[in-house]
């Protein structure tokens, strides 16, 4: 196999794996459902149960808090550990999704 062909097949491989990684249309909905046991279904926490609701909060607020938790600059009992499970892109998606939910 000469170099050009090898490069070409590599490029094809990258393309194929890129296609396989196409995100499920409900990826963010599913991701946000990991938060629901604490923050309520669709971010609507039970009032008075001491957990923070996320539904309808400003997108920038949710995103910046998650970044602060991840960086360890915001006091937390648990969110500093959980926030490390998500990438910048996923934080953006989560924040947009919760902001779009009805309060």
């Amino acid at each position: 196999m000469n170099r050009t062909i090898r490069t070409a097949s590599l490029a094809a491989l990258v393309l194929v794996s890129g296609a396989a990684a196409a995100q499920d249309p409900n990826f963010t909905r599913n991701l946000a459902a990991t938060c629901a046991p604490c923050h309520g279904t669709n971010g609507k926490a039970i009032p008075g149960a001491g957990q923070v609701p996320l539904a309808g909060e400003a997108q920038e607020t949710i995103a910046s808090r998650l970044h602060e938790f991840r960086a360890g600059t915001r006091p937390a009992t648990i969110m500093h550990q959980i926030a490390k499970g998500y990438t910048d892109e996923q934080i953006k998606q989560l924040a947009a999704w919760f902001a779009a939910q009805k309060k």
Binding site: A20, A21, Q23, D24, P25, N26, F27, R29, N30, L31, A33, T34, C35, A36, P37, C38, H39, G40, T41, A45, I46, A49, G50, Q51, T77, I78, H80, Q81, I82, A83, K84, G85, Y86
Partner: protein, 423 residues
């Protein structure tokens, strides 16, 4: 007139047509009938989310033998006298409001070929996809003296919340000051890794406050505390010196029921209240379904869909599964299994592949006394190469120390997860 069976058959037929027609995107394209067996943390969550995420386009029947949901998490506080059974009991009415057909019956068998489930009272039901979420059943063969119902009524497990929880509370109330409570803990894996250590902690707290001469003995089959070791042992040292006696490598062989004595390999331990958490395996219906079990105990599933690796169309959730690495058998995890399965089933019923990147989170809060809590948390994501979920590097940990703030969060978590599954 259309009886239920015919009605469901008709639904099944419609589903076939819709599946053939449906190709692109959107969960609301999903049509069909999903039967969920077991209305605990996994099954109830799956039933609700199938309705929520399909906008009601998928029919869901939940088969559950109990008429109310009683939570295992927080049940140790009923045993310690800090909560009542009513505080951990939730109605199934909320699921009915979502349009879930809730049937209180027992399942005798499931036929993966014919896609039918046989009920004790209600005949046979057809399904397009089935979810089995029965929790655990006990390996009584490994504690032979406890095989009879009569023996099980005397030496309690209280490892499924309900009448056993109340009965264990009663035994502790009747215990004289100066009595001994002993708990046996099976080798991992078992339901709720920190549960036994929470139980001995809150019972020690009850003794400290009400029966200060009494003792707690933990006979652990494991070589060490299996969850939150540092935080639990610190609590026992600092709060329960002279009360808690923790003994590792102490595997139960059998029980002398009349004398409430735990029989170990080289030792016998007599107690006034003996509480045995027996070794466990996947619930009976999973064992009977033909689904592949690892070591005859836990169901092997495809982690993208929670479908059994061999019994097609049967998805298995929660404690019954052979856990992915560092994934505990917890109510929180069962909730997450329920959601990943619901999303995958809706895709499959619409003719789509399951989401290739599922995520799951876990948190187990444990009380070390009536007011202080410790947690362990982790975020898990699917790894396509390993074909299982792995903990996202760095995204796990435990509480810095036991604290009162998290006691409020723990109760708030319980209320939110109960609503997430059932309201």
């Amino acid at each position: 007139m259309l009886n239920r069976r015919d009605f469901i058959k008709t639904l099944g037929a419609t589903a076939g047509v819709a599946t053939l027609g449906g190709c692109a995107g959107g969960a609301s394209k999903a049509r069909g009938h999903v039967v969920v067996v077991g209305g605990g943390y996994g099954g109830a969550t799956a039933a609700k989310y199938l309705r929520l995420w399909s906008n009601g386009s998928v029919d869901v029947t939940l088969i559950e033998r109990n008429t109310e949901f009683i939570s295992c998490p927080i049940s140790n506080l009923v045993i310690s006298g800090d909560k009542a059974l009513a505080d951990i009991t939730v109605s199934y009415e909320g699921l009915r409001k979502w349009g879930v057909r809730v049937v209180h019956d027992s399942v005798l068998g499931i036929d993966a070929e014919k896609r039918t489930i046989k009920l004790e009272k209600g005949g046979e039901i057809n399904y397009d996809r089935a979810i089995l979420s029965p929790g655990v059943d006990f390996l009584w063969d490994q504690v032979p003296a406890l095989k009879s119902a009569d023996a099980q009524a005397k030496i309690l497990h209280a490892w499924k919340a309900g009448p056993q929880t109340v009965a264990l509370r009663k035994q502790l109330e009747d215990l004289k000051d100066g009595g001994v409570y002993a708990l046996t803990i099976p080798k991992a894996p078992y339901r709720c890794p920190p549960g036994p250590y929470e139980r001995i902690s809150v019972i020690a707290d009850y003794f400290k406050r009400h029966k200060p001469k009494s003792k707690v003995i933990a006979l652990d089959a494991n070589p060490e505390v299996t969850s939150k070791k540092g935080l639990f042992t610190k609590a026992w040292d600092e709060l329960y010196k002279g009360i808690v006696d923790y003994r590792p490598n102490s595997e139960l062989r059998d029980v002398d029921v009349a004398n409430r004595t735990a029989i170990l390999e080289f030792d016998k331990v007599k107690a006034d209240v003996l509480n045995v958490v027996p070794p466990q395996r996947a619930g009976d219906i999973v064992a009977k379904s033909g689904a592949k079990l690892a070591n005859g105990r836990w169901a092997e599933v495809d982690w993208l869909s929670l479908e059994s690796v061999n019994a097609k169309g049967i998805h298995i959730l929660g404690d019954s599964t052979l856990s992915a690495p560092l994934m505990p058998k917890s109510g929180f995890m069962a909730n997450q299994h329920g959601k990943v399965a619901a999303a995958a089933i809706l895709n499959l019923l619409a003719g789509e592949a399951p989401n290739p990147e599922p995520f799951m989170t876990n948190t187990c809060y444990s009380f070390v006394d009536a007011k202080n809590v410790i947690h362990v948390a982790s975020v898990h994501r699917y790894d396509a190469e390993k074909k299982t979920l792995i903990v996202v590097p760095g995204a796990s940990g435990v509480s810095a120390q036991r604290n009162e703030i998290e006691a409020a969060y723990a109760i708030g978590w319980a209320k939110n997860i109960w609503a997430d599954a059932l309201a």
